[in-house]
């Protein structure tokens, strides 16, 4: 059964159809990559999923429940997590406190929060610097902190918006390993430009173009799809 699906989901910005009539289904336990050229509507689409912006029309169904009318924080409480494309950490708080803010939505008590935080920091590879102010971290480490905050929420659906942007090669490799490790417990929707990450981690790939689904299939199918190549190369 699908953990998340949409029916006729649309959003226009003063006449511009950013997302148009999208029917999308994401089965539980799958890692799905969402790709598409710049301006294809990827971030708008996931923002509609997690309630950051309201849809013009259409429905979002999560775990069998129509959540279209729920505000963002209620959707998060149902088990969604969203990490931002533009790094968006609490820069004047410590790394630890950033992750603790995420963890406290799920667990109570100082010891339990502490365990959850340290586990998330370890998974993201930031366990050696819990006391550092988040704003003092390098850009790559701030991206990892974003991911750690997502992990600490232990969501059923983790939406990652360009998580590897700005990471060093070694960090990208660690990220791929982390995603594979999470697969057992978490459904993941991944917006990604780095094709090696898409090819090596995703079970299936959805391609958006001009706010509509252009193609969907395994990474190999998408790789070989002429329409997708045309959309990316702009010769369609």
């Amino acid at each position: 059964m699908s953990l998340l699906s949409t029916r006729g989901l649309s959003r226009s910005f003063s006449g511009l159809r950013a997302v148009h009539e999208v029917d999308f289904a994401l089965p539980e336990g799958e890692i799905r990559a969402l790709i598409g050229p710049n301006g294809a509507g990827k971030t708008t689409f996931v923002s509609l999923l997690c309630g950051r912006i309201p849809p013009s029309s259409g429905q979002v169904i999560f775990d069998g429940q129509d959540i279209s009318a729920l505000p963002a924080h209620r959707r998060i409480a149902l088990g969604m997590a969203y990490t931002f494309q533009i790094t968006s950490v609490f820069s004047r708080l410590s790394v630890y406190e950033n992750v603790a803010l995420a963890a406290r939505r799920r667990v109570a008590g100082r010891a339990a929060v502490d365990r959850a935080v340290m586990r998330a920091l370890e998974q993201a590879g930031l366990h050696d610097r819990p006391d550092q102010a988040a704003g003092d971290l390098s850009y790559g480490h701030q991206r990892l902190l974003e991911i750690a905050m997502g992990l600490a929420q232990a969501p059923r659906l983790l939406i990652l918006d360009e998580p590897t942007q700005g990471l060093a090669d070694s960090e990208v490799a660690a990220f791929k390993a982390l995603i594979r490790e999470l697969k057992a417990t978490t459904t993941i929707l991944l917006i990604e430009h780095n094709m090696s990450v898409v090819m090596e981690t995703a079970d299936r790939v959805t391609v958006l173009n001009f706010g509509e689904i252009l193609a969907e299939g395994t990474p190999q199918q998408i790789h070989a799809n002429a329409e997708v190549q045309a959309a990316y190369l702009g010769t369609g």
Partner: protein
């Protein structure tokens, strides 16, 4: 020494110092400090919203006056004793803060500043409109007999200092506890990045409303105490000036620090006090010092201290 030990030592030490000063200060400064502690409690309340939650209100005179008039009217027309009157002032400020919060939080940024300013002006004009009861500009003077709890005469310097210190200690410790608790961390998170806090699953509106109510309540309590301790309840305290004062005190002392409001209030009070003994152009002196501080210590006195030396300051 652990961080918690340092925090307890510093904040506890400050309270002990204030207790000790009661016995050491000459009469003039003793009276000043009692007044400063009540005003600093007002600033502490303001700081909960501005310093920790990032909500800039230009209408906090409304909460101060709500507490003050809630108390004063209860004494004057219902014959309430000081304790009951204080509770009445507290209740009025909670209700006013809740209503203002529910309406004003529909706006943000500049809109929020304007809406809170308008509410405060409406409150000020309401007090003047019902001048038959509020005595408007002239104000209500509370008699000594109306300010006595048992054998404790709040119009006398000793009990008054003690009461002001008690009020200050309550506001001070409540904020200290709050900003170190998970609740306070969420407020700080909202200040730092509201959208991110929402996307972690926090109901941002409810947290902000709670901040407004806590802030309004502390300010209302301070207003009620001010009227009771100094025996005067007047419309001046609802004027725009009293919305700007707490903002200045907090900015000078250090927004988002627990001891900043006291330091800022103390500094501003004595800046005006000392400069006015030297020249009649004392506002000019105050203005120049404020400009210098804004230039060289933009985070306020305690804020700079935290940025440079004591990074652990809450």
């Amino acid at each position: 020494m652990s961080e918690t030990t340092k925090i307890v030592a510093l904040h506890g030490g400050l309270l002990v110092l204030l207790v000790t000063l009661q016995f050491l200060l000459p009469a003039y400064h003793h009276g000043n400090l009692a007044r400063i502690m009540v005003l600093a409690s007002f600033a502490i309340g303001y700081n909960v919203m501005f310093g920790y939650t990032g909500l800039l209100s230009l209408g906090h005179a409304l909460f101060f006056a709500a507490g003050m008039y809630g108390m004063g009217l209860a004494v004057q027309y219902a014959g309430a004793g000081p304790v009951v009157a204080l509770l009445a002032g507290l209740a009025v400020s909670v209700v006013v803060a809740l209503v203002v919060g529910l309406l004003a939080l529909r706006t943000a940024g500049v809109g929020f500043m304007i809406v809170t300013l308008m509410f405060a002006q409406a409150g000020y004009l309401t007090i003047l409109y019902f001048t038959t009861w509020t005595r408007g500009d002239e104000g209500l003077v509370l008699q000594q007999a109306q300010r006595t709890i048992g054998s404790l005469d709040l119009s006398q310097p000793g009990p008054r200092y003690f009461a002001a210190l008690l009020l200050f200690a309550i506001c001070f410790l409540v904020t200290l506890w709050m900003v170190r608790a998970p609740f306070g961390k969420v407020l700080i998170a909202i200040r730092e990045n509201e959208e991110r806090a929402r996307m972690l699953g926090y109901d941002v509106f409810r947290y902000k409303l709670a901040a407004v109510v806590i802030s309004g309540t502390l300010c209302g309590l301070s207003g009620a105490a001010y009227g009771l301790l100094f025996g005067y309840v007047g419309a001046t305290f609802a004027s725009v000036q009293y919305s700007i004062f707490p903002l200045l005190w907090v900015l000078l002392g250090g927004a988002g620090t627990v001891i900043g409001p006291l330091v800022g209030t103390l500094f501003m009070f004595y800046l005006i006090d000392l400069s006015s003994s030297v020249t009649s152009a004392y506002m000019l002196v105050a203005g120049v010092v404020l400009v210098l501080l804004t230039l060289f210590a933009p985070q306020g006195l305690v804020g700079e201290l935290r940025a440079r030396v004591w990074r652990w300051l809450p």
